[in-house]
Symmetry: C2
């Protein structure tokens, strides 16, 4: 969910409103977030304007400025809503079979990153973050680090279960799982397929096993 400081997300903070006004407000919020995702995928981050988001969402520009300080804030809320709900809260399944669990979640991530409606806006944001250190900090804190954290938790649980050697640096292991994926994606050094992520999981785990 968007943080209270950057979006009108929490109905409980709006109890003074009538139910109808709250519903309208929530509808506008969703329309703005959806419009920002669509548009950034179409025109890129640099050319995205609050005016265009307002027009696409069918709201006034001031409505957006009342709730968010910048286009970056709108977009980060849009992604946080999508990604948080889909992935972070659930975490990675823990069936006890680490290899199967990692393969499953990485296959789902491949599907997500090969879906243009997700990929185009996410690339626009990642490109903007790579170019701009300030934006990058927010992008990291709100999207990438929580994303990496679910892998850290799953690998740590496997380490506690004795499936990963005690001396392994779990943070580094997560980077070995996600870095090659991110490089193929962002720098287009290879194709994102289930075969790739399956093989990656196997090779990474080979180095983590107790000796």
């Amino acid at each position: 969910m968007p943080s209270a400081s950057s979006g009108p997300s929490a109905p409980r903070a709006r109890e003074f409103r009538t139910p109808d006004a709250s519903r309208r407000s929530e509808r506008s919020r969703r329309a703005i977030l959806d419009a920002s995702m669509e548009l950034v995928g179409e025109v890129g981050y640099n050319k995205l304007t609050i005016e265009a988001v307002a027009a696409r969402a069918g709201v006034g520009k001031q409505t957006i400025y009342r709730w968010w300080p910048s286009k970056a804030a709108v977009l980060l809320d849009a992604f946080t809503t999508v990604v948080t709900n889909a992935e972070y809260e659930a975490g990675i399944p823990d069936t006890g079979d680490l290899e199967a669990d990692l393969k499953q979640v990485l296959r789902a991530t491949v599907d997500e990153f090969t879906d243009a409606s997700f990929e185009a806006p996410y690339r626009a944001l990642a490109v903007a973050g790579a170019a701009d250190e300030e934006l990058s900090k927010e992008f990291l804190e709100r999207l990438m680090e929580p994303g990496m954290e679910v892998y850290t938790r799953r690998l740590r649980s496997a380490q506690e279960a004795g499936q990963i050697a005690e001396d392994i640096d779990i943070g580094l292991a997560v980077e070995m799982l996600l870095g090659p994926f991110q490089q193929r994606w962002l720098q287009r050094t290879g194709t994102l397929t289930h075969e790739f992520t399956d093989a990656l999981v196997e090779l990474v785990l080979r180095g983590l096993a107790p000796r």
Copy 2:
């Protein structure tokens, strides 16, 4: 060296010129490449103009257009000249100690990527490539793939020497070495230090060893 199709690189193709004209031409070429590297680090890829490169290099705009079709072509030649000479031709040392050799070359790469005069223009080009699929292809072919190829060669030689298990996919192993580095760098998920690359080499090699 720049390819013959995109730059006035090969003196042997210019034998009809007087020696003085060839020297002037080579001086202009170097000035243009240097200016393009400096400027892209200062203003980013999108705001880089041929006019500004010409002004900084002290040549006419038409001199640049005579030799290169676009600013991307100038920049790619600039990087290819710097990076090829420094790294690709030499390859990775092969002392027989794979771990030491990889650590040495990755430490040198950390030093390069923490040097602003290299990092800023390289980031500008990487960001532009992440945003633009066409540019990305050239960036990949002329810079990233040759860079990955030197690792492939070194790992393959270790595999032939029996230091890496026979069933290891060397291409994937290279991605496990370079992906985490590239992610820390481009997406700023961590600091590039010698300690990081040393630990990365150790953990990757742990998974590659014959069993």
